[in-house]
Symmetry: C2
Subunit: 414 residues, 2 copies
């Protein structure tokens, strides 16, 4: 017998039940590499959108930055402080960000214990050495990059198979895995017709650094994990990201993310804007006809969130080419120079010897329809966006270290 309850009691009970359900039904995302340029705003974006969030980081990138003597344009507090400040400012006390400090590559038991405690539905895996030039510094950095990235991903595969085999992994790859082939680049897989027969195969890779190679190795390992264990993986082959500001991460307050402008950890557009503000020429490597895919950091978050809300199936190794538009380096430099000149900065462009070994003029036609089909509405690079970037860098121009803007790592010499 259900006891008789009054209408008022019913309303109250429903409220309690709904509130309880909301907690229990909240989806859980674990962000590996939560201290990074993308990791931190990704975490804030998921929380804002009703997900329960936990972060993992070993803070090693801060150490690498110290070693080579670079730092983000705006100072960052410790990750522990950032999480604390964020949790304090959040009125919803039941949805606090969890933080785990540890190394997923060197400490498998740590990773297991995090998964056992947090039991994520989705894992966003950014926890890798993210720089091509860093991987080309010398023998040690090349080996460390590959061992760190490959081992972290292998550990993740084994750990989630053991603890949360049904969880969906969003793995950050790079468009640089493909290189610049003379055929259209498909999204991860290609139907090959050869001598009258057909095969659906992984799209052939021709990466341009030991870093890019590490991502190729990860992709092969993950595809195998899907094939034999039924893992669910989305490999996000991302283009070059730019931008500082997202809906939840504001460079003007403590929610800011790291902004690198140096030649090792800074991406090209961020570096160009900084060079313009610093009053030194934008350095184009070689002929500048290298074409790449680009996206605003806002769209990185949109893409990752869309992929998380629409997970890969059991056993599926799904690949998204994650960018919104393509430019040559020259076009990008011209866009930045134009804004610089509008703002009275007399921005110059200078071709310098290419430190990398890559084709400087080539065919480039990468497909990128999967994320659009999931509903991505891209934020294209506009004058307004560029002006906003200029403004933010201008405000912090006294912190620019001009000595870190020119490439010092040469592919031939590594």
């Amino acid at each position: 017998m259900v006891p008789k309850i009054s209408p008022m009691e019913r309303i109250y009970l429903n409220m309690v039940l709904l509130s309880f359900r909301r907690r229990e039904d909240m989806k859980r995302v674990l962000v590996l590499g939560g201290d990074g340029y993308l990791g931190w705003p990704t975490a804030l974006h998921f929380r804002k959108n009703g997900w329960k969030v936990a972060l993992v980081d070993n803070l090693i990138k801060r150490h690498w930055e110290n070693e080579i003597g670079v730092s983000p344009l705006l100072p960052l507090r410790s990750l522990q402080q950032r999480v604390e400040i964020e949790n304090r400012s959040n009125s919803d006390s039941a949805n606090q960000i969890k933080l785990y400090i540890g190394d997923i590559s060197k400490n498998y038991r740590f990773l297991i214990s995090v998964l056992e405690e947090f039991r994520p539905d989705t894992i966003v895996h950014y926890a890798e050495q993210p720089s091509a030039p860093y991987s080309m510094v010398d023998h040690l950095r090349a080996v460390d990059t590959q061992v760190n990235n490959i081992t972290g991903t292998l550990n993740l595969m084994f750990a989630l198979r053991k603890v949360v085999p049904n969880a969906h992994v969003l793995k950050l790859g790079t468009m640089g895995e493909y290189g610049t082939p003379n055929i259209a680049i498909e999204e991860g897989w290609i139907e090959i017709e050869h001598k009258g027969r057909k095969e659906r195969a992984l799209f052939p890779k021709k990466p341009g650094s030991f870093y890019h190679l590490s991502k190729v190795h990860d992709s092969h390992n993950l595809e195998f994990g899907c094939r034999i264990w039924g893992l669910r993986v989305t490999d996000l082959n991302q283009g070059v990201v730019y931008g500082i500001k997202t809906q939840e991460s504001n460079p003007m307050d403590e929610s800011r993310t790291s902004f690198h402008y140096d030649a090792i950890f800074g991406t090209v557009l961020n570096r160009f804007v900084t060079q313009a503000i610093a009053g030194i020429p934008l350095t184009v490597y070689g002929k500048g006809e290298q074409t790449r895919g680009y996206l605003n950091i806002v769209d990185t978050l949109n893409c990752v969130f869309l992929a998380a809300e629409n997970p890969a199936s059991e056993g599926e190794f799904r690949v998204f080419n994650q960018f919104t538009e393509t430019f040559t380096v020259n076009v990008l430099a011209q866009k930045v120079a134009r804004i610089g000149n509008i703002l009275g900065l007399e921005t110059q462009i200078r071709e310098i010897e290419n430190p990398r070994i890559e084709m400087e003029a080539h065919f480039y036609e990468p497909t990128h329809s999967n994320l659009l089909e999931l509903g991505l509405s891209p934020t294209f690079l506009s004058d307004d966006i560029l002006k906003e970037m200029f403004e933010l860098v201008q405000l912090n121009s006294e912190r620019i270290d001009k000595g870190n803007l020119l490439p010092t790592i040469k592919w031939k010499n590594s």
Copy 2:
């Protein structure tokens, strides 16, 4: 003024000069993994053919064998003793085999010092964890296999670039890197026609274990090294090797090589012959229609030697598919059973649950013309060869450990 010399003096001087030239002109091969099934006979084969030979090994495979409790059918002396016995039995005191004990994966300085001292023209790189089942034992073995194999090869790339950039690397890969695609398998590279354009790309890989994946990663790293540094590499994607005896390595004396028949380190034909001798059924995994490329160990040596005598060009990443014929596992089992029955062993064949995850019936058409074009004259699997294998295993049948013949490592459980 040249002093006047008598005809007798001239003959003597010529002899001295020729002898001196022979030493100086001798080509030098460094065999990495010189204690192994292929490394040891490869070393003897090169020396017999007039090359100066040095071996490197860290002896770790003997440790792995101890850990899982298997051993070769015939006992092997220490590598130090084997080299000493070999050098003593060699009348040519000027052509002694050099031995370096050390780890190319963990000790980069060791590798540098070996290259500086020996200055090889050719490096045969076998120094990797060689077993698919071993890599699937558990998390630790999977990670160790990939880190060991990838790091060793990366170290080699950096070391030779620094010390002997012109040396030719013969790297042992495996046909298992390709998997079993529905199209003909080309030798490493494929011309892809896609949407009206063409590209010469690395043949797409779909490997079947963490071991096979490690070889795929090596191939990508090496191709990059050729592309950016001009390294010379021949990737030998080898089929399944069988046999005990080569021209220079005799199982009946101290020149013998290791012969593994167990389910971890033994290749399938060696295992079948051992099962027949042990009077237990030949264990076919699953349906037995898996087709693979096979070659006699004699042809491994022939292939490697031909490739060494005809090196890759500067910057060339050359791939050879190294096998001489293809069989299904069923055909192989039937061949062995037939000989077993001729010899009165009443050999049975038994299908057991497949411990691996692989297609059990599939299209298979791998190209293998490069080595034939260099002049390889194959040794096909004949009744005589099988009978000789039976005879050698029979002579040592009391040493067979029947407990190690059945697969214990399951791909689903790793």
